[in-house]
């Protein structure tokens, strides 16, 4: 019941947001978001969170119609834009889809299936996604778009939530494919929203790359029907034979495409041209979160080689994406690569598949969503209120808006330090992988990628934080006031982070001493800042070795050579091929 409401309600909200005038639209949106959040929360606490049932046949026909229309739309976009890749993948999908429909077996299982993982996803999608929509209300007002387009923007975001709620509650791979393609459609529309040349180009890039994921799912479907005679996840997983894992490996590849894992990282980074709420929602609550979710769905079918392969590939992405991020200067791009990295880690954990690793994966999914949303909202604030996009320019922000600095610092701290959720996830990841090494030495490489990657990630985040403090003592910049539409969602996300901390405390992942100490330290520092401002101490200027020249202080970057970047992409592409080849043999 909840599932149905979570799927249908956002569709109606989208319609309402589309036609209502600004004031009413804003009030309605806030009310809708509260309702959706309450519903998804209520679902977690209700007695019966898992249920399954089939849909009537007429629905299946409707879905086939929708799917055909959607694929034709992609083909048409490809023709209009004269983009060969979009056309090619649309055609391939149409052919494969026709094969799937032609072959589709009569055996029916439940189309709708929600379990505790779905409930967790509902929380992420509706609460975090909802806050981003509230934030978007103000953000989109400051864009130069027509009234209709602004309303349309909010409507698409609600539509996106609906699709996401549906995708995490379906058991039918064919329906999963339709929804997968609908998220591709949403991201295509949102990335190209500003309509300028670069946006259109990057939107098309996102389109064809995500279509590869669609092709992979269709291949998985074809192989699943041929060998196991089923369209359903549960039947597939129940009958899976270790000798024939082709459907599973293609589903895993679809997950890597959605998760923008290297070599598919370009689409998510290109998505940065879109309005910031789009990045926020793509990175935290929707779209890319399908990747670890899909992995969690199929992990029972993975064993031996495939489980190891996916784990190694995921940690490899974790490491290399961080490495790429260290050479970046654009704030959103840094956040983007760190999303790719952490998604790689989540997928690795799902592939390990022990109860502990799955818990770690879910923890990462939840807390990464909150932290990333908080950070992307600040990226938007930096852009709209300060006109800043590059880390190199954010000198001394602490004087201009301490609140934004606080959000950014807590955001980064929550992605690295104890006792925040992402830290716990990483901590458990190391423990899970260590346990695997005892049985299989190849997991050592996953551990090394993880150790290197997590160190690099910490360096990356604190390199940015360091820049916030560096300020000129003599210059007193103006304090800037930030709109309530921006600060309130940020405060709510901050509150969620602390709710998360409380949950971690309750679940005894850390001893109480281990838990309290870092928290005290993290709270202690700002309090010290606030109280001990050394009003009476003697202020001096920095020691400059007697040099008179003013020096401009920059940041360090790890510039990777193009050859190395190519090498990374080739290595990643090759390992995916090895994954397929290994399963075939």
């Amino acid at each position: 019941m909840t599932t149905a409401i979570l799927i249908i309600a956002p569709l109606l909200f989208a319609l309402a947001a589309l036609i209502a005038p600004v004031m009413i639209r804003n009030i309605l949106t806030i009310l809708f978001v509260i309702a959706l959040s309450a519903l998804s929360l209520g679902n977690v606490f209700s007695f019966n969170t898992s249920f399954a049932f089939p849909l009537p046949n007429s629905f299946h026909e409707l879905f086939i119609l929708l799917d055909t229309l959607l694929l034709l739309y992609f083909l048409w976009r490809g023709i209009v834009a004269k983009n060969a890749l979009v056309m090619l993948f649309a055609l391939v999908q149409i052919v494969l889809y026709a094969v799937v429909v032609y072959l589709s077996p009569a055996v029916v299982s439940s189309d709708i299936f929600a379990d505790h993982i779905s409930s967790v996803m509902y929380l992420v999608i509706n609460i975090v996604g909802g806050m981003i929509i509230v934030y978007a209300l103000k953000y989109i007002e400051s864009e130069e778009l027509s009234r209709f387009k602004k309303n349309g923007f909010i409507a698409i975001l609600f539509f996106f939530l609906s699709v996401m709620n549906f995708i995490v509650s379906t058991n039918n791979i064919e329906i999963f494919f339709l929804l997968f393609e609908l998220t591709t459609l949403c991201s295509y529309l949102l990335i190209g929203y500003r309509g300028d040349e670069l946006s259109v180009k990057n939107a098309l890039q996102a389109l064809w790359m995500n279509q590869i994921g669609g092709v992979a799912i269709l291949l998985a479907l074809v192989f699943s029907i041929l060998e196991y005679n089923t369209l359903y996840f549960d039947v597939l997983l129940a009958n899976i034979d270790e000798i024939y894992l082709l459907p599973v490996v293609f589903l895993a590849i679809a997950a890597f495409v959605k998760g923008a894992s290297i070599p598919f990282d370009k689409w998510l980074i290109g998505a940065m041209v879109a309005p910031t709420p789009v990045s926020a929602i793509l990175h935290s609550a929707t779209m890319v979160k399908i990747a670890p979710y899909l992995m969690l769905k199929i992990f029972p079918a993975m064993s031996g080689f495939l489980s190891l392969g996916v784990t190694l590939f995921g940690t490899f992405v974790f490491f290399t994406a961080t490495l790429l991020a260290l050479g970046k200067d654009y704030f959103k791009e840094i956040l983007g690569y760190s999303t790719i990295a952490l998604l790689g880690l989540m997928m690795s954990l799902a592939a390990i598949g022990t109860p502990e690793a799955v818990t770690a994966c879910l923890i990462l999914i939840m807390f990464h969503a909150v932290s990333k949303a908080l950070l992307f909202l600040q990226a938007g604030v930096l852009e709209k209120s300060f006109g800043l996009k590059y880390v190199d320019d954010i000198d001394g922000l602490v004087e201009r808006s301490p609140l934004t600095v606080l959000f950014i610092i807590v955001g980064f701290a929550s992605l690295t330090l104890p006792p925040f959720g992402v830290f716990i996830g990483k901590f458990m990841a190391i423990e899970s992988i260590s346990k695997e090494i005892i049985n299989n030495p190849f997991y050592t490489f996953a551990l090394i990628f993880l150790a290197l990657g997590s160190t690099l990630l910490t360096l990356l985040y604190f390199k940015v934080v360091a820049k916030l403090f560096a300020k000129d003592v003599d210059v007193k910049p103006l304090h800037v006031k930030i709109s309530k539409f921006y600060t309130v969602p940020s405060f709510l996300l901050l509150a969620l982070l602390f709710v998360g901390i409380y949950m971690i405390f309750l679940s005894h992942f850390l001893s109480s001493l281990e838990f309290v100490v870092p928290l005290v330290l993290i709270v202690f520092v700002p309090i010290l800042f606030a109280t001990l401002l050394f009003k009476n101490a003697h202020r001096v200027k920095e020691y400059n070795c007697g040099e008179k020249d003013e020096s401009k202080l920059g940041m360090y970057y790890f510039y990777l050579s193009d050859a190395l970047k190519k090498g990374i992409n080739t290595a990643a592409a090759l390992s995916l091929l090895v994954l397929i080849a290994g399963v075939l043999l």
């Binding site: 403090f469 001493l513 202020r539």
Partner: protein
């Protein structure tokens, strides 16, 4: 009770160690060197000095660095989770690095940058070491590691790697690129003076305690072996410090990361076959 005592005097022990090291190094160079308690005399002098600050964030972050490090040492003494301790130590270094970046001083920034890069070199090694202990003892808890027999033989390659990062952490040549005095005038510490420098100074002592306590983990429950490891390593590090010139930052990372990771990997893979 004993633990509380050791935690309380940890910085003093580090100070003594530091003083002893200065004497030892001087003797190795055929000098008489300062008295054993010289670090404490220095401290006394620092307290009396006029306090200058460049900006409040800078001074506070220095103090927080010291406090965090003390907590890290306390956690080791209490026998908490090793992996957690390694991450908490990273937090303390993060505070130090932020301090270095918070002033507009070229030297401080270079120092902070180098500190960052050095972290990159030793942090993965520390994590691998923790995993090595986990594979042998089945737990990350230091109390469990201490209760079991010495694991230096099965972890010998990781032990060698750990020896390599001691000079990085304690800023000894050949891996003392982070503090290359003549070139960058003290690095992160350059803008500290008076009582604020005192905290940085004491933090340095705590780094000694931190690294040698980790070293002792290799001895497990064997106290004699622990003492031997400590004395041997202490002499070795100082001998190497006296006998070698500094390597460049780039080389530091290359050497520690490549050699360290190769040795660590071989060790971990070997363990999974036993």
């Amino acid at each position: 009770m004993m633990e509380a005592f050791f935690i309380a005097v940890a910085p003093l022990l580090g100070g003594l160690l530091y003083g002893f090291e200065r004497v030892l190094r001087a003797r190795m160079q055929n000098r008489k060197g300062p008295p054993l308690l010289q670090p404490f005399y220095d401290m006394y002098k620092l307290i009396g000095k006029q306090a200058f600050i460049v900006n409040p964030y800078h001074s506070i972050l220095g103090i927080v660095y010291f406090i965090t490090l003390w907590i890290v040492v306390a956690f080791i003494i209490l026998g908490e989770n090793l992996l957690y301790i390694i991450f908490l130590h990273l937090l303390s270094v993060v505070f130090l690095i932020l301090a270095g970046f918070s002033v507009r001083s070229v030297y401080s920034h270079i120092g902070a940058n180098r500190e960052l890069l050095a972290t990159l070199a030793y942090e993965p090694v520390l994590v691998m070491m923790a995993v090595g202990f986990f594979m042998i003892n089945g737990s990350f808890e230091i109390s469990a590691i201490r209760a079991n027999a010495s694991s230096i033989i099965p972890l010998f390659l990781l032990f060698l790697t750990f020896l390599m990062i001691i000079p990085v952490k304690l800023k000894k040549s050949p891996f003392n690129a982070t503090e290359a005095h003549q070139e960058i005038i003290g690095g992160v510490e350059v803008e500290y003076s008076g009582v604020f420098f005192e905290f940085m100074y004491m933090a340095k002592w705590l780094e000694y305690v931190f690294i040698y306590l980790l070293l002792m983990l290799f001895a497990g429950d064997n106290i004699a072996l622990g003492t031997a490891l400590f004395i041997g390593t202490f002499l070795l590090v100082n001998l190497v410090d006296n006998a070698t010139a500094r390597v460049k930052m780039r080389d530091l990372i290359k050497i520690v990361l490549t050699l360290g990771i190769v040795l660590g990997t071989v060790n971990l893979i070997g363990l999974s076959y036993v």
